[in-house]
Structure formats: structure tokens, C-alpha cells
Subunit: 483 residues, 2 copies
């Protein structure tokens, strides 16, 4: 079994030449108040740091401690939004006024916030690449307050987008080469998630998205044709089909299950034949949105083929996730394209992860946290990924940033330095291609939808040693605390 390639770039999908060239505004947090999208404690801690004069450099590491259900890998996504956020981070005059009105903050700290910009650096695993538990997906190094304040937004975005990219990857793998369209927008948890789902799933290999704003913002192909309400608003299903075909002779997919799937398919055949006779376009596909998809798709395929409509494809949607896709594909159901919505768009079987953003270095000193069951690795880090003789990933080693492990390729790259982005942002197509290559190099056994084995990740001996040393040191300090 090899990594499936989506065979066609979207049924009824339209792709614009210039990604992101629409000139539309991204629906994001208000640029002038980005600083306020944070947990209050980031600000109270920052004031305490400020009063203590603690302006030394800190490194925070973003990583996930454990795999959610049935996962053995994560797909990196969300970095572009993090870099954009850090580039624009600020507190407007109104934001400062609001903070003053809470009565929590001192004037000198508020004046400091008014001038605050992010001046640090960011090293991260590029979007579209894989990462594994305990590996730093993002490392932020900056003066303590700057690095602390950005925690809430960074976790929020990388957690969401990696989760959705990972879920979408599972769907793409299950579909084994059949196309998948993102239909999730109406059921994602909010508008931000809808747009990020469209982008993350396209990175993972979906062929199109139903969300027009996402398609326009990210330069992806939009797709979609009709809902049940379209059928219901005409006196008959046949009238509805004819009206649609008249308006879109070259891109008609007919939804056939509003009343009865078989009757609907026969009506679709009639319209397809009328299109042939009139020499006015060709029916692209029929869509099934309810019922037993394996049985119905076979019946529908037979009706279409018996009518000489072998060219009409079958689209299936409705409650699908990677588990359903795998079952349908293994059963050999004659389905050409899946529409995937709700369950993928909220990552229903694993709607959260325990991604954390932890201080690992401060003022040149590696630090850790010892809370029950939550030990973290100290210091800035690099991940080295090694390949076997077949070009497949063999194992990862988490090491100290400045270690050089022979044979391993470093996975984290620098994306921001002194508050400035380094190099141009990758295009969505570049990220999609990067993911395709990356995922092809992961052995298939880690892609199993159920109970995949763990991909081997170890810690370098130098980092192990540092970890032990810091742990002993911290315990020592803490015992003396309680004297």
C-alpha cells in the first residue's frame, strides 16, 4: 500500500491561479487589539516580572505530551498564523484603557505594554511536516514577558490546526486515492475553525473546500452544488434537477436522496439524457447524502452504467469520518468522491490534545516543571529525524539545540529572528507538496486508523543527562524552600 495521491483536483472544483490574491481581508482578531487575546494570568505574571526587572531571555517550547485516541503522528499546521500574530502583536490605546479600567494593573506596566512589540525568535517544525509526542513543534525565544504573553494564542492555533490537519490526513489515508471535499464549515466550532479546517485539510490532501471565504483567502478550489432545500423549493425533483442543469451545464452534481435515492437517480438519468440530446453539457455526478452508502452506491452505479452513463461519478456525504471511509473503501463501494463534514471538522473522536507551552530556559538556565505526571525536557531543543535504507523514517531523536547528531536531519527551522520573519511564507501548494512527501516517508504501519504502533522517538544522552541534572537541582532548591 502506498501513499494515495488524490487523483483529480476536485469534482466541480474551481481553482484560481493566484492563491491569496483575492485581496480579501482575513477574518482574524482585530490587529490593533491582538494583545488582548490572552489569558489574564499572562498579563498579571508579566506585571510581576516587570516589577522584578525580569527582562532576561526565555525559551518556551510547544509540545504535546500524549497521543489522542488512535494517533501515532501529528501534522504540523498553524505556524503561519503564529508568525502573523507575532509580527502584529501590540496593545492599542483602547486596550490599555480597558486594562487600566480593570484596576488590576499599575501605570508603569501599562505604559510598558503600550510600547510592546515581539522582538524574539521562532524556531519551528514547518507546516506540513510530521511531528511526534514530546517533540517541540514551536520554540519561542524572547525577553520573558514577550515569550510569556503569546502563550494563549500560540497554543490555541497550533493545537487546532495540527489537530485538524492530522484528522484530515487520516481521512485522506482511508480514502486511498479517492478525492475528499471539505464540507465541515457549518459544524466546525466557530468561524475560525471553519477556515482553518479548510486550509488544514487542503494541506493534508483534500481536493477542495465548500467554504468560499476560505477558498478565496487561501487560494484553494471551492466546490459544491446543491442542498435538499433546493429540491424542496421546486414543485418536483425533476424540475429542480432541470433548473440546476440549465444554470450549470458543465458542473452539475445532482443530489438524489431528498425523497428516495433510487427514484432520484432515475430522475438524474433522465436529466443526463436530456443534456446529451440537447448537447448542452454533461452531468458530472450524483450525490448520496443518507442511507446505506455501500448498498446504495452499487445500485446507483448499476443504474447509471445500465443507462450508458459510465461517465457520471458518485459523490457520497453525510456523517462520514475516516473510519466510515475505510469501511466503504475496503468494501469496494463504487464511490468517486467523499464529502466529509462534521466529524472531521471537530476531530470528533479526539477533539482536544494536551498540547502545552512550557518554559524550558530562562536567563541561560535550563528549567523544568515537576508537577505530578507532567515532567518536561529542559532547554532549547532540536529534533533529528533519521531515514532507513528504503528512505522511510526510522526514528527521531530529541536533542539539545546545539547538538549535532550524525545521520539525523534537523526538523526545526528558524522562521523569525529579532521579531522579523525570515524569508517569504510558503504557499499553500508548497506546504501541500511538502506534506505529501513527508507522509510518503512514514511507514504505513503508523498510519493505521486503530491502535497504530508508536513511532520511535528517543532523547539524546546529553539531553537525558541535562534533564537529570536540572531535576536534581530543582528538588534541592525546593527542599531548602520548605525549611
Amino acid at each position: 500500500m502506498t501513499t494515495p495521491k488524490p487523483p483529480f483536483s476536485g469534482l466541480n472544483a474551481s481553482r484560481l491561479n493566484a492563491p491569496g490574491a483575492s485581496g480579501l481581508n482575513a477574518p482574524e482578531l482585530p490587529k490593533e487589539d491582538l494583545g488582548l487575546f490572552t489569558d489574564l494570568y499572562e498579563l498579571t505574571m508579566s506585571q510581576a516580572f516587570f516589577r522584578q526587572g525580569m527582562s532576561a531571555t526565555a525559551t518556551f517550547s510547544l509540545f504535546t505530551r500524549t497521543y489522542p485516541l488512535n494517533r501515532a503522528y501529528f501534522v504540523s499546521a498553524g505556524l503561519e498564523d503564529v508568525l502573523d500574530y507575532l509580527s502584529n502583536l501590540n496593545f492599542s490605546g483602547r486596550a490599555i484603557d480597558y486594562l487600566r479600567a480593570t484596576g488590576i494593573f499599575s501605570d508603569d506596566f501599562l505604559e510598558y505594554l503600550r510600547g510592546l512589540r515581539f522582538t524574539g525568535s521562532v524556531r519551528a517544525i514547518p507546516e506540513g511536516r510530521l511531528y511526534f509526542t514530546d517533540e517541540p513543534a514551536v520554540e519561542v525565544t524572547a525577553p520573558l514577558i514577550e515569550a510569556q504573553l503569546v502563550e494563549t494564542f500560540i497554543i490555541n492555533q497550533v493545537n487546532l490546526q495540527s489537530m485538524l490537519a492530522t484528522k484530515a490526513t487520516r481521512c485522506v489515508w482511508a480514502a486511498q486515492g479517492r478525492g475528499i471535499a471539505d464540507f465541515a464549515s457549518r459544524r466546525t466550532q466557530g468561524t475560525d475553525a471553519a477556515l482553518k479546517m479548510a486550509r488544514a485539510s487542503y494541506i493534508a490532501g483534500f481536493t477542495s473546500t465548500s467554504n468560499v471565504l476560505a477558498a478565496s483567502l487561501y487560494g484553494m478550489p471551492p466546490s459544491g452544488t446543491m442542498a435538499h432545500s433546493f429540491i424542496s423549493s421546486f414543485p418536483s425533483e425533476l424540475d429542480a434537477f432541470r433548473a440546476y442543469a440549465a444554470s450549470f451545464p458543465d458542473r452539475t452534481t445532482l443530489l438524489v436522496d431528498t425523497y428516495d435515492t433510487i427514484t432520484g437517480t432515475r430522475n438524474a438519468v433522465q436529466v443526463a439524457k436530456e443534456m446529451e440530446v440537447a448537447n448542452n453539457g454533461r452531468l458530472v455526478a450524483v450525490r448520496l447524502d443518507s442511507g446505506n452508502f455501500d448498498e446504495l452506491s452499487r445500485q446507483v452505479r448499476k443504474i447509471l452504467d445500465d443507462s450508458g452513463l459510465g461517465y457520471v461519478k458518485i459523490v457520497v456525504s453525510g456523517g462520514l469520518d475516516e473510519y466510515a471511509l475505510e469501511a466503504l473503501v475496503k468494501a469496494g463501494a463504487p464511490i468517486d468522491l467523499f464529502g466529509v463534514g462534521t466529524k472531521a471538522g471537530v476531530s470528533a473522536d479526539a477533539p482536544w490534545s494536551d498540547m502545552a507551552y512550557k518554559l524550558v530556559n530562562f536567563n541561560g538556565r535550563p528549567v523544568i516543571k515537576l508537577s505530578t505526571g507532567k515532567v518536561s525536557l529542559p532547554g532549547p531543543k532540536q529534533v533529528y529525524r533519521t531515514k532507513d535504507a528504503n528512505g522511510k523514517f526510522a526514528k527521531d531523536i530529541i536533542a539539545m539545540e546545539n547538538e549535532n547528531l550524525p545521520g539525523g536531519l534537523p526538523v526545526l527551522e528558524e522562521f523569525m529572528k529579532d521579531g522579523q520573519r525570515i524569508g517569504p511564507a510558503a504557499t499553500i501548494e508548497e506546504i501541500r507538496t511538502r506534506f505529501e512527501e513527508e507522509f510518503a516517508a512514514l511507514d504505513d504501519r503508523f498510519k493505521a486508523l486503530n491502535n497504530p504502533p508508536r513511532y520511535p522517538v528517543s532523547v539524546s544522552s546529553r539531553l537525558e543527562r541535562l534533564s537529570s541534572e536540572v531535576q536534581e537541582e530543582v528538588m534541592g532548591i525546593n527542599v531548602s524552600d520548605s525549611d
Copy 2:
């Protein structure tokens, strides 16, 4: 057991006097391109309607077919965003240019879209009130295209916000009068969900939110003090505690589990005593974020009490949801405030619902959809809610809009007419109070966290009759279709 009232308005919480008066911009979709946040098929259907001259009035009904796991009610939330969206719906010149560039749409339809505004009416169940399966939470009546185009956004927002308000209500019920702070922002599915979680959970009775932007936008109290990284960035825990108390003498909650909860509590006691001696504020609380909360909270309470610090409260956070809250409350753990994050913020046990937006009336004709297992009730509707002798809700009856059922109070109200909002928006405090009264009138048995019984909802005999008639008519049409 009566409906719990949050006893204190937020530990370390600060409330501003003028809700929403911060003057900050709401982080919403770009106003000039609201029209594009929609599924492509809404636009292709609209073009087909446009070409057919189908401009008659349609009514769409938003409802949920089935209860997610362990739910027996929904809390209405999201309407305010729907009304704001409808008031601002439009397609900018750039949006039109984008749509033209896709090659999908005809020029006459694009010119129509350029001038499109929402001119219809909205009837809905007010935010903070309860609703049940099959009941219309929102009904939109407008020229067909306008009513169709808005589907994606309306489902997205009402589904999310009602789901989160319902989840938060379950937490409030489980806490039985203890306060709850929303800590979910970093793990919600995106920034939109973070803000909506803060608002929805405050409606449901949470005492505060950690999200500063949400607090400023909606006029709610923000809360929060320190993270583990704060402790780790000081040479010792005691140094960190002292630094924080110096900066916030009147609002210090000390996080005691960075290294060891009991040692941390002893350090907190030492700092509390130092504050007493210096006569500089009083320690408000300690926070536990890991370990066995029942055991640890008792040990911590004893240490505090034995040290004469009975006034210091205990806050607990970390992986909590309504099930954990109920267990801790039933066990009698001495916890004063819960911080609730991830699992509530993504509604982890039920992260989606099957909310649908269906055409129920077009051009004066009631319509339905018959897809396998998905029958909907025809026509515009009203819900009548009746109370028993004790003032508790007895049952709901779903009826035709113009029916007048004696004894029942209508639940849907008109919020928009001819594209204009009717009356001022309710304040967040009004909605919160409305919810509190509403929830008190729901019998406790429906509030059970596990396997609650179904609240009785019936369909009026007139609506039943209409439903049968329309069903027969549709079947008749469809049979003739396939001839």
C-alpha cells in the same frame, strides 16, 4: 436540590461597570465580505433560483434532531451574532471580483449579489432560554435566496454557542453553587470558539473568564493569576510567591503544584503569614492544577486551617469537566472555585450536534424533506411551553405558527423584521438572569449528567395533520416524477 447560584462573582475577578463599553473591535469576519462565509452550494443554488425567477418568500427552520450524549436540553445562544451578521450581510466589490474569477457564475447573478442585503424577518428562542429536540431555535423568513445564503453562518454560530452554553450549564449544575472560571481559551477550537465559550459559559453562570479580549468585548469579569512558568522562572518557588504577592497584594492566588503540592502549600502559608505581618493585603487562594484533587484539597485545607488561614480559598483546575466536578462535590472535597478548560471548551463528550436548517415553507406552500431517517416538520412554527402547579415546566408543544394553544406560553419571539432588528439587544447580564430563571423552572431530573429522561415535547394535532398531508402530497409528486 435547587438550582445552584454562583455565590461569589469571581475569585480574583474584576468586573467593569459598562459591559461592552471598551470600544474594542469584535474579532469577527470582515464586515465587507460577510457574504463569502458560506458554502459554495448556497451560491450555486442561488444562481439557479435567480435564473428561474424564484424570488418568493421562504421560511427556513433551525432545529436539532437528536440529543447528544447525556443531554436532555439545549441552552439557546448565538442569536446575537446571527442578528449582527444578517444586519451586515453583503458582498463587496472584491468579493464579486473573486466570484467572477472562479468562472462559475453569470454576470447578471453577480450584479444581483452586489446589491444584496438581508430584508427578511427572524423569529427565535431568546438567548438563555431552553429548547429541546425538533423545536425551531431560529426561523428565518425572507426571499428564497436571502434565506438560503445565510445557512452556513447561522448553523455554525448557533450550533457552537448553544453547545458550549449547554456544556457550561452542566458544569454549573455539577458545581452546586461553587464558582467556576472559564480557562478554556488555549484549547478551544480556534479564537472564535474561545470568545464564544467565554460568553456562553458566563450566560450559563460561570463567574469569570480568563480571556481578556472576551471580558472586554462582552463586559464580563476577567480572572487569573499565575502559571507554572511563572514559578519556574524564579530561583525558587518562595521567591516567585513573594514577587507575585508584592505586585498584587489584594488579588494573589498562588499556584502550589509546580514542584510538590504540599511543599508548595507550606510555601504559600509562609507568604500569607508574611503578608499578615507586613499588613500588606491578604492571600486570596491557592490553586491546585494536578494530582488527586479530593485528597490534596483536604490536605491543603487542613494545612491552611491549622495555620490560621481559614480565609484562604482553594481553587482547583486541570482536566476538569462536569463529571469530575460532580464527583468532587459529592465527595465533599473542600474546593471553593473550579477552573474549567479544555473538556468544557470543546464540549469533549459531545463535540457536535446534528443541527439542521431546513426549508419548511416556500411561496406559501409548506414543504418537507423525506431522506431516510430525516423527516422534518412543515411550515413556520411556534413552541408553546406549559408549567405545572409548582411553576416547573410541564411540557412543550410544537405547533403551527398561527395556532393559539390555551395554557401554553409561546417561546419564539420576533427579533428582526424587514431586515431591521426589533428593539435593543439584551445585555449579557439580562441573558444570564433569563437563563437562571429558565433553568430553575426545569425539573432537576432533566439535569442529571448521565442518562437524563426526555423532557416531554409533542406536536399539535393540527401540525401533525399538516405533516401527513404534505408527506402524502410529496410522495404523490415523486411517484409521478419517475414515470
